[in-house]
């Protein structure tokens, strides 16, 4: 397994060029969409304009985007309570996401799921999950289908550092390992499970030791470096297809509070600021500029376009219909 975050953080491992302009633009746009989406949702919540709670992905974009950029359309994914970034990077329709957050009928779940349950099974998104670690067995099962039907694809399973201590993580990784299932397990180690620091939750510094326990490869990656994530993901996808599961620990950080009601009492402003120095979006931009893939102007335009797209999504969502109360007990059974 690779060295830890602290050592790797500064370096970019891949020449971005090799990815080609189209792909790079797509990746950059996804990160921008995610960031803008989350900022908008934060605003809605702060104004009490949305119901319920939400868990924002701001700061962690490089993980979702880098991982999914290395996957194919037909690959499957399970997501988490902090899932907007996964969805956007998997190519979800931002308007239908926003509509779901506003509880509208044209949302991904007809307004029944909300932020914590957005899914799009047809397009390979097996769902966000309100239960920490809850998606891990489901991804494992999708791996069974994939092997039994001999489909050439992999399953990506996202979860947080907190989920590493749930029993189903353990059971699922072992099962995937002994059956050589094509699952790429991605732990988004954003340093905290709600208020609980990774340093308190584990008695190990290197979380890839958890992979050793199942006899599968474990790799640390700088989760704020989209190129490093991408490279690792490419390797992981191949390994999963050909051999079996992999555990990636993507080391990153969440900027916003855990959910809407979080006073951030468990961490310092300084820590947040330090991590913001490693913001994955400017870091990607810097590489794109350095390698002269895009001009400043092109990049500025992308940023504007991304912001505009979010506004369009909001407009769509705000104008969308509420589900009728008559649908309350629809879709319980097939």
């Amino acid at each position: 397994s690779q060295t830890l975050l602290e050592d790797d953080m500064a370096q970019t491992t891949t020449p971005a060029k090799s990815l080609g302009k189209e792909k790079l633009k797509d990746m950059y746009m996804k990160m921008l969409h995610t960031r803008n989406f989350e900022e908008k949702v934060a605003y809605f919540f702060s104004r009490g304009m949305v119901h319920g709670t939400t868990h924002l992905y701001a700061g962690e974009e490089a993980t979702a985007t880098g991982m999914l950029a290395a996957m194919k359309d037909e690959d499957l994914m399970t997501s988490t309570h902090r899932g907007h970034g996964h969805l956007i990077s998997k190519g979800a329709d931002i308007s239908r996401m926003m509509a779901e957050l506003l509880g509208k009928d044209s949302g991904y779940c007809k307004g029944k799921g909300g932020s914590m349950h957005i899914a799009d099974v047809e397009r390979g998104n097996l769902g966000a999950n309100g239960i920490v670690g809850g998606g891990i067995p489901i991804a494992t099962g999708a791996g069974i289908t994939t092997r039994m039907k001999e489909i050439d694809r992999v399953v990506l399973s996202f979860f947080g550092d907190g989920a590493l201590n749930e029993g189903v993580f353990h059971e699922s990784l072992n099962l995937a390992s002994i059956w050589n299932l094509p699952v790429v397990f991605v732990c988004e180690n954003n340093q905290y499970a709600m208020s609980f620091s990774r340093k308190k939750a584990f008695n190990i510094e290197d979380l890839t030791k958890r992979a050793d326990a199942y006899g599968i490869p474990g790799v640390n990656v700088d989760g704020n470096n989209v190129f490093e994530v991408y490279e690792t993901a490419k390797w992981a996808r191949e390994h999963a297809r050909e051999t079996g599961p992999v555990l990636i620990i993507s080391n990153t950080y969440r900027y916003k509070g855990h959910s809407k009601s979080d006073a951030n009492r468990y961490r310092t402003k300084e820590e947040i600021e330090e991590w913001k120095q490693l913001d994955p979006i400017p870091r990607m931009r810097e590489v794109l500029e350095q390698e002269k893939m895009f001009t400043k102007k092109e990049l500025d335009e992308m940023e504007k376009e991304a912001a505009d797209n979010i506004e369009k999504a909001v407009e769509f969502a705000e104008n969308a219909e509420e589900p009728s109360v008559d649908t309350l007990t629809d879709d319980v059974y097939a």
Binding site: G134, I138, I144, T146, A334
Partner: protein, 326 residues
């Protein structure tokens, strides 16, 4: 029609589906070379191979959850939980994931999975291997709950469960496994959510299911032979979604209702049955209170004599019938 055991009927149901449909597969603890803790799957590994008859580690959360994941992505898994008590270990994956996926996703997914599991006491296995927790599953929208009381029902209901698009908890009855009954050789389907009048009568309605059903049938016959008491017996077979119509009709006809199940009475499924009767048109025909006989308010004890008394006995059923007819 030949007579085979309840366990054989279950095996035949699984085997029919697995023969004709590659999407159906089977996983669980010790179901392969061991043939299952109760011998239900003896020979299936040999017929279907390791890929489709999958022995798993002891990991009930991953077992049920990966079943759900396989189901959502196009398979029809049959998941065996070795004793129904162990479902508690994977309860989140059953009740919070499998059951809710379809609804949470706005109807845009299906979870065609069967969780087969032996329930009940009577084997001397004590508190953690003897429960009947159908009331738990029956309280969860999105799940279906099936409890077959005969070999015939077991096969036909299992085939329907496998081809149902929803997660089904299929509660087999341990002490019925060796009981024989007539079962067609061919494939047949008994629709879910159809209660069956298993015995016609006019004096009193017994609603019962699972292991207690044959016991109630015997009691009814005995009382008919000895005293001419004419008991009607309705077996809901599927507890969720419940087909309550035949129950109401029967109670409206007889004016008396006795509910019998093995599960602990307090908070058991009998409460739902009693409540539905008490808020139906049958209420106006009731000539006596609605009586329930369920399990004692304790875990299942080890000692055989205590164990026997922890669940409804023929004597208790007879006494209740006499009281209600009094």
């Amino acid at each position: 029609m030949r007579d085979i055991t309840y366990a054989e009927a279950v095996r035949e149901g699984m085997s029919h589906a697995m023969r004709k449909d590659q999407d159906v597969f089977f996983m669980g603890e010790d179901i392969g070379v061991y043939g299952g803790a109760f011998g239900v799957s003896v020979g299936m590994l040999e017929e279907f191979g390791e890929e489709r008859v999958r022995d798993t580690p002891i990991s009930e959360g991953a077992l049920i959850g990966s079943g759900a994941g396989a189901a959502v992505t196009g398979m029809r898994p049959i998941v065996e939980v070795q004793f129904s008590d162990f479902i508690a270990v994977g309860m989140d994956q059953l009740a919070n994931q499998a059951a809710k996926i379809r609804y949470m996703f706005g109807g845009r997914a299906t979870v065609p999975m069967v969780v087969r599991t032996p329930a009940g006491s009577g084997t001397g296995a004590a508190a953690q291997h003897s429960q009947s927790m159908e009331a738990w599953y029956a309280h969860v929208p999105g799940l279906k709950v099936v409890v077959p009381s005969t070999a015939y029902d077991a096969k036909g209901l299992l085939l329907s469960s496998i081809y149902d698009e929803n997660p089904v908890v299929f509660m087999e009855q341990k002490v019925l496994y060796r009981k024989k009954g007539p079962v067609p050789e061919e494939e047949y389907y008994i629709p879910l959510s159809e209660s069956e009048v298993k015995r016609e009568g006019s004096d009193l309605t017994i609603v019962s299911y699972g292991r207690m059903l044959p016991m109630c049938m015997e009691v009814a016959q005995e009382l008919y032979d000895s005293e001419g008491i004419n008991i009607e017996i309705v077996d809901p077979r599927t507890l969720r979604p419940l087909d309550v119509g035949p129950i109401i009709t029967s109670v409206a006809k007889t004016g008396r209702a006795l509910i019998v199940h093995e599960a602990v009475q307090f908070g058991g499924f009998g409460g739902e049955l009693a409540a539905q009767i008490a808020d139906s048109e049958a209420f106006y025909y009731l000539d006596a209170p609605i009586r329930r006989i369920g399990g004692a308010d304790s875990p299942i004890p080890y000692n055989p004599n205590l164990e026997k008394h922890a669940v409804p006995t023929p004597d208790k059923v007879k006494a209740a019938i006499r009281e209600l007819l009094d």
